[in-house]
Subunit: 193 residues, 2 copies
């Protein structure tokens, strides 16, 4: 990455784009906002504000022995809206994604899982962010104590896959990672029938 | 919204959070980054950087008569990575989401569709953004001329639903809106068999 406001000697190629300069417009512990001057694919000049995420996102479809899955409810500050979701969290660069997924499931719900499988790789919101992540399927659940962090005020709920799909269709469950993960898992269940 | 840097007379309740102050840290035509001083759900002080999106996101699963769906390929600047996705775009506050979806499908692919249905409501990346959107299913496709905007350099590809699912499983298709939309549609197809 260039220094704030640095004008690059040679424009940097980003596919059919060229980046002429970059400065850090805002930074906190979670994101860095980069203001770039660019040439667009047709050669015309423009700007691009990129939101760089310091952490990757993980989400876990945790399936109990009766086939129900575990949802976590919380008020999402950025939306100012309550949201029921699969257990999700951020994983820093020094932690493997699977370990981060195990930790988030344990912290938010208290559950450990004996069997883990990757459901999908994700780019979460690619119009202006570089947020990446992975979705996991966790089975063989064993209950324990939850340890949410101070920014979390969480509720838990066990629901059938069909109930989650119905809530997605009704617009009541709307988190994109949750829809992606549960629908991919529901497709697997439907095809196995 | 408060003025930049304004300290509110009374903290504003955001669910179990309280917002004590807000300033605009960065703004362009697409996003506004807001730096808030907050009390967290446990009462401890903290900060929250919120990325406000000026537009909503729409995505379209466009299904041809043979059951294949239309994917758009482009180099995503924010990721610096090529990405195959359903047709997607941003819709401003003055345009109904369905009209925006029709426009994006027409501009990016040239296709019009006679039948439209909502697949899901979305909050795209809710840890720090307020980006919202909707996913649509479009059928009864009629070909026309594409008119991509200057920031787009697009390729088109028709693929079966099974091929898209295989590419999701392989990590080759990773856009969260695309995974959510195609898996929800694939579930509908699987259940109808």
């Amino acid at each position: 990455m260039n220094e704030p406001g640095e004008e690059t000697a040679e424009p940097i190629r980003i596919g059919p784009w060229r980046r002429r300069s970059r400065r850090v417009a805002y930074a906190n512990d979670w994101i860095e906002v980069l203001h770039d001057e660019v040439d667009r694919p047709d050669g015309s000049p423009g700007i691009y504000g990129v939101v760089h995420f310091r952490n990757q996102a993980v989400g876990v479809v945790a399936v109990g022995e009766d086939g129900r899955i575990l949802l976590v409810g919380q008020h999402r500050y950025a939306l100012d809206e309550y949201s029921w979701e699969i257990p999700e969290g951020g994983v820093g660069p020094d932690e493997p994604l699977l370990e981060g997924a195990r930790r988030e499931l344990r912290e938010e719900t208290g559950y450990e899982a004996t069997d883990w499988r990757r459901l999908a790789r994700l780019t979460v919101s690619n119009s202006v962010t570089d947020e990446r992540g992975e979705l996991f399927l966790a089975t063989g659940l064993v209950a324990g104590d939850a340890h949410p962090d101070p920014s979390e005020d969480l509720a838990l709920r066990w629901v059938t896959v069909d109930e989650v799909i119905a809530e997605i269709d009704a617009g009541e469950i709307h988190d994109a990672m949750t829809i992606a993960a549960v629908c991919r898992y529901a497709l697997e269940v439907a095809r196995a029938r």
